[in-house]
């Protein structure tokens, strides 16, 4: 039988505010355990929360960018449960009146455009961190993340494949970056997703029983979890088994999900309106102000890049997918006459480096001006393309200016014809066999000779000059 996979996402994004949602402690990542804390975010008796205004503005910004209706009246609620990472024993969140609802994002998969519905976006606080002691019997509790503001974005069950999930997630991520709502650093937990997934025989109207896979924190894990869980559910159904509604965890190393076998069914969160906080009213004037603070979004920017910098549609889509990358491109391209070369570098060497090092584009160790100077050095024939790769490596490691590197390492192209000619003659006399091959019509041999010359000059010889001089000298023979 053919099955259809039905997927919805719940995405948590930490907002890029300076201070926490209800107190003045910093949201900065890291820090010694329990040093970004005060009585408010550690749930001490008698303290009270006061809502950070920027949290509301960022959430509304995200809502507007995701085509949501913004609630003129919303409130915060308490979600009650016991867990050591939750010092108040309730999470302040939003229940029945979220800040944003009924939005959508358009994604493009295999050339066709699809709308994915966004049910709601609400504000809430993050929990602390538990560090498990592998050997002993204890866990350590660090409340630094407690009270870092989050938005939770809940989608409709509109996605039908991991490709759609990937496209949606990346689109959403780029929007959150563009609006500066979140830094979206997934390895720091700034952005993470829960996947709700069910399968049904193709053509069936009713949804199947769904499972929820919690806390996926890389795009790769999301895609693999979707595919893995879909396979698992289909195989259960094909063996006439029954899908159990439950929460599962994805083990990305093993490539399979397992049941969290907790007493989920016993959960009764007893939501009720948070008495310590007042309602949030977003009027037209405030909404307009927030709207006007939203910068150009990825779709608009993509179109502009194609028109303004003349880069191919594919490049523009790729680069604008990530705001830091697009910012980097734009800063570099502005300084350059060769935007296409900049885009090639970004999509090639820069991406490779980022992937190899696991760095986020935001943390790139090279400056956009440096990349555009590197491109100029090639275009002005100061260095060869091959040498440029060496220079790029050094730039990445040291952050130095490419011109300085070229100077210091003596990497300039050798254009002095007489110097090159003497090396050409030297190579010809050292390789009589190749010369003979060439003379007998095996033109391939010339490649070998060029290679030898480049080796002698450590790649610095101007390749055009090498070709011309080599032909001249060979013809003399």
């Amino acid at each position: 039988m053919e099955y259809e996979v039905v997927i919805g996402l719940e995405i948590h994004a930490e907002l890029d505010t300076r201070s926490k949602i209800y107190c003045g402690c910093t949201t900065e990542f890291g820090g010694e355990p329990n040093t970004h804390c005060c009585p408010i975010c550690t749930g001490m008796p008698g303290v009270l929360p006061v809502l950070n205004k920027t949290v509301v503005e960022y959430a509304v910004r995200a809502g507007l960018a995701a085509n949501c209706a913004i609630s003129s009246f919303s409130k915060q609620d308490r979600k009650n449960y016991f867990y050591p990472d939750l010092p108040k024993a309730y999470q302040t969140s939003q229940y029945d009146l979220p800040l944003c609802k009924n939005g959508y994002l358009e994604i493009e998969v295999d050339g066709s455009v699809k709308k994915i519905g966004i049910t709601r976006i609400h504000i809430e606080e993050d929990a602390g961190k538990l560090i498990h002691d592998e050997s002993g019997k204890v866990s350590y509790v660090d409340y630094n993340r407690c009270g870092v503001p989050l938005i939770e974005i809940v989608t409709e069950p509109d996605m039908r494949s991991s490709a759609e999930v990937k496209a949606f997630f990346e689109k959403l991520k780029s929007i959150l970056e563009y609006t500066s709502v979140s830094d979206c650093k997934m390895q720091e937990g700034s952005l993470r997703a829960d996947v709700n997934l069910s399968v049904r025989p193709k053509g069936q109207k009713e949804f199947g029983t769904r499972t929820e896979i919690k806390n996926l924190n890389s795009v790769r894990a999301i895609v693999r979890a979707v595919d893995g869980e879909a396979r698992r559910q289909i195989s259960v159904l094909e063996r006439n088994g029954v899908i159990v509604q439950e929460t599962r965890r994805w083990d990305d190393e093993k490539g399979e999900s397992y049941s969290m076998r907790d007493k989920e069914e016993a959960h009764d969160y007893r939501y009720f309106p948070e008495p310590d906080l007042t309602p949030v009213v977003v009027d037209e004037a405030w909404l307009d102000k927030i709207r006007s603070s939203i910068p150009e979004l990825p779709d608009e920017r993509r179109k502009r890049f194609i028109a303004e910098y003349g880069i191919p549609a594919y490049d523009a889509a790729f680069i604008t997918g990530s705001k830091p990358l697009a910012d980097f491109f734009e800063a570099a391209a502005k300084e350059s006459k060769n935007a296409k070369a900049i885009s090639n570098w970004i999509m090639g060497d820069v991406m490779k480096k980022l992937n190899d090092t696991g760095l986020e584009p935001l943390d790139m160790p090279i400056k956009p001006e440096s990349l555009s100077r590197l491109v100029s050095l090639i275009d002005e024939n100061v260095i060869s393309g091959k040498i440029a790769k060496q220079v790029f490596e050094i730039m990445w490691d040291t952050g130095e200016d490419p011109a300085d590197i070229v100077e210091k390492e003596g990497l300039k192209v050798v254009t002095d014809t007489e110097e090159i000619r003497s090396i050409v003659i030297q190579v010809i006399s050292a390789n009589p066999k190749s010369v003979e091959d060439y003379k007998s019509g095996k033109t391939k041999a010339i490649g070998f000779l060029v290679g030898q010359i480049m080796r002698e000059t450590k790649g610095k010889a101007d390749p055009q000059a090498v070709n011309r001089l080599l032909k001249e000298e060979l013809d003399k023979l």
Binding site: T17, R18, S19, C37, P39, P84, Y140
Partner: protein, 96 residues
């Protein structure tokens, strides 16, 4: 509304309260008295057209600006902890 021992046990579990059998016995009766008294009374009133009132204050939009303030010294945060180590609160191992 009848409240049973099982109800009390479930509520105590949800509220993370250990109760002795005697407490369960007594609280079952108490709860039935309180809930029945309260709800019978309140249900005398027709509230169909009444909106629930969460806040008596007619205020909204109380905010703080997004400004960082100095956090507390860790010693102060951990001072009252029953068990602590390496700058953290200690709990029995949490199984996930």
């Amino acid at each position: 509304m009848a409240i049973t021992k099982e109800d009390i046990e479930r509520l105590a579990d949800l509220a993370r309260l250990n109760l002795t059998p005697e407490e369960i016995e007594k609280l079952t009766g108490d709860m039935e008295t309180i809930i029945n008294y309260s709800m019978n009374k309140l249900n005398e009133l027709n509230t169909d057209d009444v909106l629930p009132m969460e806040h008596v204050l007619p205020i909204s939009n109380v905010f703080r600006e997004d400004i960082c303030e100095k956090s507390f010294d860790r010693e102060e945060i951990l001072k009252n902890a029953p068990e602590k180590a390496e700058g953290c609160f200690l709990v029995p191992k949490v199984v996930e």
